[in-house]
Subunit: 446 residues, 2 copies
Amino acid sequence: MSEEFAGYRGKVMQTLKKAGAKIGDVINIIKDEISYTGILIPRSEYSDDNHIVMKLENGYNIGVSITPTTKIEKVGGSIKPTFVSPSLPEQKINLPRVVIVSTGGTIASRVDYRTGGVRPALSASDLYSVVPELSEIATIDAEILLSLLSENITPKHWSKIAKAVATQIEKGATGVVVAHGTDTLAYTAAALSFAIQNLPVPVVMVGSQRSADRPSSDAATNLTGAVIGAAKAPFAEVVLAMHETASDTSIIFHRGTKVRKCHTSRRDTFESINISPLARVKDGEITTLIESYKERDPKLKTNLKPSFEEKVALIKFHPGLDPKIIEWYTDEGYKGIILEGTGLGHVGNYCFPAIRRAIEKNVILAITSQCIWGSVNLNVYDTGRDLLAMGVIPLGDTLPETALVKLMWILGSLKPKDLNEAKSFLLTNFVGEINSRSIFVESFQE
Amino acid sequence: MSEEFAGYRGKVMQTLKKAGAKIGDVINIIKDEISYTGILIPRSEYSDDNHIVMKLENGYNIGVSITPTTKIEKVGGSIKPTFVSPSLPEQKINLPRVVIVSTGGTIASRVDYRTGGVRPALSASDLYSVVPELSEIATIDAEILLSLLSENITPKHWSKIAKAVATQIEKGATGVVVAHGTDTLAYTAAALSFAIQNLPVPVVMVGSQRSADRPSSDAATNLTGAVIGAAKAPFAEVVLAMHETASDTSIIFHRGTKVRKCHTSRRDTFESINISPLARVKDGEITTLIESYKERDPKLKTNLKPSFEEKVALIKFHPGLDPKIIEWYTDEGYKGIILEGTGLGHVGNYCFPAIRRAIEKNVILAITSQCIWGSVNLNVYDTGRDLLAMGVIPLGDTLPETALVKLMWILGSLKPKDLNEAKSFLLTNFVGEINSRSIFVESFQE
């Protein structure tokens, strides 16, 4: 298939050829008296043969089905992605050195309309061209580590990112920024929180909800806030920097184990759950919002433990959940299951036999809540007491996603010598993932 | 095992016998110089033999492990659950008739400390004794349909509840209140929304976060608000009535398909997602908050379609999710899978082959977002476009839990004649579950 028509075939490709339009061209389509103008973009390999997909000026893609009366016209030539590449700005002396490690995602890329591909745009000069004010804050080094949409990031990538960040810290970075897609940004933030502890400097994860080529993009403000955090923040934790509100006025730092993507499209999509955010950047200045954080201390030596066991599952309980799914994971040799229960940490009693069987076969079962806010407590209702008695571990106010990552990390990196040690690690607060006052199990499990 | 020591055995039962204490007695335990006073309550069948469980005055249960130095003393006799049972209040004439259908849960019950069991307390006279002001609002009839903790409610129970509610409406109720545990209250609210349409009168689901025997209980205020709604509200929809804030001043009505339990313990735990709540009760008066709702109209005849297909699963995607789980559901004969994707509705590309295989085998695959707020849109990124091309159905701003219930209902009650009809039903807004402007698929799938 020609790259000029990638993904198009059959009658729709003929129609495009007739109009003299190829991918990247600006085209106008008139259908049912509605006119659409946008850039012709490639289709995926699974596409049908009667839609044309175009990117409208507002950044959205639409598909238009082609009928014999649809009119198509080429109105402009191919637009190539351009990065203004000025000579590098004059470097100030004695600025902090911030390394931006790029893993892909919206923030790290611009759409190349010619190929439809997402092109990483994070060389230092590209960055200065997009966000020239960075040169006032820090000397930037950029490392393109991965180029993935974040839904395709797996625990193996977490290990790779953790190692890359630790290496940059060893080499003397004042702070590290990790650019990452927002979809699984919070999972990776939790993973790095566990994998690289005892940090001397901050590690600031950052993403954007809208790509830099859209007028409403949050990429530049988020990136600037993240670089300020990496360069100047008083804390040395893994944090996530994104918009505090829908406006462009402030960037907020969330603790990596206590943050969650809570809206599909808003710029202030990330929220700290059950705690206050760590700090805010406004007008270039950082204000801390809580008192208990790990302080920046260049003398510390990063403790890198980057392995994750992948045989750990997250099961969201729902009415009618088939308990056989728990049996399946047990028989597949899974080592741990995080249950996302209801309310204070419950599942239907019809799941009890499968849970008991899993525990008998040495699968670690721990429970969190799909409520998201608040804390599980297995001592209030019969269901919770039954689960506790069976050996299900209540994880207090740990987020389900963080609990999954934590158990993967415990089994992969800490290699507990037995089940009891694994359980005790799960109940240990390593990096702020659990408020100790939220653990109601202590008086019960001595 | 004696009921006087239910759940206790071995050395701990001997200790209790020596102290002359049995279940229901007020006991005092001194351990490590800390004194605990509370009611001895039964243990579950899976318990160990070295903890005593007591209910403290603040309503919480704690387990205390017994060592040779622990002191136990009986300080008070058995407390039986008492309901003040006054003669029924004088009935006002011409009051609306509200039926309270009880399914169990915290709101419907008081703990019987003698048996540890949860006793439904919803005869009309019990209700008037607990909430005497109900007699000012309506004539109350009470029906104890089920007595379940809501995590044990299954789709079969939804059918039973829907039929009971429809029967009460047919018999002429001015409105129906359904008392239900909060854990899966939102799932059942969605289920009733689909199962009983074309309502002439409101159906108000209600729960409470703290039982009526605790000073901080929200049971009475929630129930009063629910009865006011059932008796007087201008809308005829399935709604959920709970505290609007942590204070006792207002009760808010959420649409049954757009509501979610968002905190494990707060009284204002339920939130309307992506829409405003329907109305508020304050000082006994109802104020509507949106303009588009189904109006109360006694001439309407309820359309009862109460069947749910149980072979429908909800899978929450996470990094490292084993795609074999999708294959397992496919091979088990599941008819539908709701994916709880990331962001705008994505899953890792390593799941694509399993998804394609499921769709080839006629499993309906639809996608929602684990962000919870916002709407899925499969047209923005490559991942979404690939999913769309494979035949995955984007459900706009439908909540994952509501999507699960809806697909169960479509397959169980509407019996679509083929896959295309099933898909078209999924994209239809039946009872406010989907904002049509959130559906970005229309121009694509004609």
